[in-house]
């Protein structure tokens, strides 16, 4: 038993993240019997990447932040104040926490017509394709699973997400949910092809799907290397996460949240954050491909933590800019979005592919 424990500790300690700033604290904690295992686990690189940064913990904080930020921003644009009274000193920043708690304690209704097992399972199943990419996203030498095909894998998982949403709509067995899933499926076809082509053009450009190679080759940010692919990716990101100009599958004014119409309580809380989480994953990919990933000025004291911090900061800035787009534009009709997706949007992505291949040969 003790031998096993020692072995595990050895494995954990062999791959510790190094942060000079907190090294004395870690050194003193590592002496304490039970706590040392915990500290070693948290500082174990793969665990740190997946669970702390840029993984789940940051994802949670991001969720709180983005929901509040979106509401606040929309409110400011409409000349209102937005959530405030809940925590005046923080300008209402914990509003999303209250909403989440309320959803958690609310009754979760499963209506008679629903396909019961799927209706309850799917919101949880949907997290698999949303959260799995995080294991492959590296931040410097903090990485969950290291593979040279990380970018392809991430794209593959992202492409799986709409299937769960369509399935959610199907399991709800309601007319609005049906309309919503059909719209989701149509939109899926419209944005997925340009999106994948844009990613492929960047892979051509860098000559590899390995994030490390990608970052290395970005002597200037990828957005300048292939601006067309940048544009296509940006618009595809809006479409894929049902942000406002393309909030077509959810359109609450006409089809009352589409696939999610029947969900209530904690189940709705789960499905509501799906789009936000998808946005987070896509924005991480976006940062790596176009914004230079985790490269940035290094602070020696932070050691290994530099890379994740830069990655997260860039991602959050990108997402915040997308939130501005959301609160300013009105919604497209489905036919407009589809026509766009299949005509100039697709053409743009093919053009981006050509540029990507060309520049890839040059550099």
């Amino acid at each position: 038993m003790i031998a096993m424990f020692d072995l595990v500790m050895q494995i954990l300690k062999s791959n510790q993240i190094e942060i000079p700033l907190i090294q004395p604290v870690v050194d003193s904690l590592i002496e304490i019997p039970v706590l040392n295992a915990l500290v070693a686990l948290i500082l174990w690189r793969p665990f740190f990447a997946v669970v702390v940064m840029p993984g789940l913990l940051v994802l949670m904080i991001y969720l709180l932040y983005i929901i509040w930020f979106e509401r606040k921003l929309t409110a400011r644009i409409q000349w209102r104040v937005g959530p405030l009274e809940i925590a005046r000193p923080l300008r209402g920043a914990i509003q999303a926490l209250a909403d989440g708690l309320r959803y958690f304690f609310q009754e979760a209704i499963v209506h008679k017509e629903a396909h019961r097992p799927y209706f309850i399972q799917l919101p949880i199943l949907a997290f698999i394709p949303v959260l799995l990419p995080i294991a492959f996203i590296p931040a410097g030498n903090v990485v969950g699973i290291k593979t040279p095909y990380a970018i392809q894998l991430i794209v593959a998982f992202i492409s799986l997400i709409p299937i769960t949403i369509v399935a959610i709509g199907w399991a709800s067995n309601s007319r609005f949910a049906f309309v919503g899933s059909v719209r989701e499926a149509l939109m899926y076809v419209a944005y997925e092809i340009p999106f994948i082509i844009a990613v492929i053009s960047m892979i051509f450009l860098y000559g590899s799907g390995d994030p490390y190679v990608v970052i290395e080759k970005q002597w200037i940010p990828g957005a300048f290397l292939n601006p067309l692919a940048f544009l296509v990716f940006l618009i595809a990101m809006l479409m894929a996460t049902s942000r406002l100009p393309f909030e077509i599958p959810e359109a609450d004014q006409e089809i009352a949240f589409g696939p999610f119409v029947e969900y209530s309580g904690i189940l709705f809380g789960l499905v509501m954050v799906l789009a936000y989480e998808k946005l987070y994953v896509m924005a991480l990919l976006f940062t790596i491909l176009f914004l230079g990933g985790w490269s940035g000025p290094q602070i020696a004291l932070l050691g290994d933590l530099n890379a994740p911090i830069w990655l997260v900061i860039k991602t959050l800035v990108a997402i915040s800019i997308i939130a501005i787009v959301r609160s300013m534009y009105a919604r497209y009709r489905i036919d407009q979005a589809l026509r766009m997706g299949f005509s100039w949007f697709l053409a743009l992505s093919v053009l981006a592919l050509v540029i990507g291949a060309f520049i890839g040969m040059v550099i």
């Binding site: 209102r80 937005g82 959530p83 009274e85 509003q95 209250a98 909403d99 989440g100 309320r102 304690f105």
Partner: protein, 349 residues
């Protein structure tokens, strides 16, 4: 499972639940009457209800709060009940407006329902319409109540057996029915203290009428035979009545007749202004013909055309023929009681 539910609803975690619910009262979009304009004001810039965490949102399933905006009719009462029932458990209702409180300006309306009889109500906000401040104060009061009160469920949960197997598919049944034999009396007499009206009745009785009855204060019902209708109208015009407020046809198939009513009043004579004379006549259904008053009271013209559309009553002297308001392909005379609605055909498997 029961213990678990209880724990979630009112156990150790109750303070968290109370806090979350307090700051996240999301009203569902359920606009029923004119108070809705004031609700919109309360959530627009200036007052901004989102400050206190209330966000107008989607549909019943995802919200926990109903603001009943003013009058609730019988039809909307059903909608209100359904919305309330579809809402997940801790749910609250606030009623704004005098209408929801006690009927307001519709206080004796036949079609008005008090929301408190339909759903449990937490707070009433008086006013017609209440100001946005008042509405926000109502929400704050509810928050205070949530903060200081007990954490509990707002409904009783019954044990329902889970249904197994395939649910038989039922096509929706047609709810459309024709009522049988309604008893319609247009001139039911009522004792009122109205000297001017009695004077007026005496004057009217000098004409060739079948009956003159005071039905309420300022209301007189005058029954004439069809042949006398026009003459009587001319006489009324001489008395100072100058316009027709509405033309109305009542179909009474059981007695095989139409009742044609003209509500006549005056704009020019100050004494007659509040008075409405209901000049009515009965005509057989078979031969639905009545002389038009459009040449005496021009305002009757359009309404006669409309009645012609709906009931097929011919107004002799009104030049209009054919459809006036209805689409050209509407079936004939849709408001006649014996009009059969076309059964809707549902395509199903």
């Amino acid at each position: 499972m029961d213990d678990f539910t209880k724990f979630i609803h009112s156990g150790k975690l109750a303070p968290l639940k109370k806090w979350g619910t307090k700051w996240s009262l999301w009203p569902v979009h359920l606009v029923t009457a004119c108070c809705g304009a004031e609700l919109a004001h309360a959530f627009a810039s200036g007052y901004d209800g989102e400050r206190i965490g209330a966000l107008n949102y989607g549909i019943a399933r995802q919200t926990n709060f109903i603001i009943v905006e003013g009058a609730i009719t019988r039809k909307m009462a059903r909608v209100l009940r359904i919305t309330w029932e579809q809402m997940p458990d801790p749910k609250f209702v606030i009623v704004m407006g005098a209408c929801g409180l006690n009927g307001g300006i519709f206080w004796n309306g036949y079609n008005l329902v008090k929301p408190s009889e339909v759903v449990p109500v937490e707070f009433f906000i008086p006013g017609c319409p209440p100001t946005p401040e008042a509405l926000l104060r109502g929400i704050r009061q509810l928050q205070k109540k949530l903060e200081t009160g007990e954490a509990e469920s707002s409904v009783d949960f019954y044990d329902l057996r889970l249904q197994k197997g395939k649910i038989p598919k039922m096509l929706p049944k047609s709810p459309k029915r024709i009522s049988e034999n309604p008893l319609i009396i247009v001139n039911r007499a009522k004792e009122v203290d109205w000297a001017f009206g009695k004077e007026l009745c005496e004057k009217l009785k000098a004409l060739k009428l079948e009956s003159v009855v005071i039905t309420a204060k300022n209301r007189i019902a005058v029954k004439v035979s069809e042949s006398n209708l026009k003459e009587t109208a001319i006489e009324l015009k001489k008395l100072g009545f100058d316009h027709v407020k509405s033309v109305n046809v009542i179909d009474v198939p059981a007695e095989n007749k139409f009742i044609v009513e003209y509500h006549i009043s005056s704009y020019s004579n100050k004494d007659l202004m509040p008075v409405i004379v209901n000049l009515f006549t009965e005509i057989p259904r078979k031969e639905a013909k009545v002389s038009s008053l459009a040449d005496i009271f021009p305002s009757a013209d359009y309404m006669e055309r409309e009645m012609h559309d709906f009931f097929g009553v011919e107004f002799k002297g009104n030049p209009w023929k054919g459809k006036f308001l209805l689409a050209p392909d509407t079936p004939e005379f849709p408001l006649r009681k014996d009009f059969k609605l076309q059964e809707e055909i549902y395509v199903g498997d």
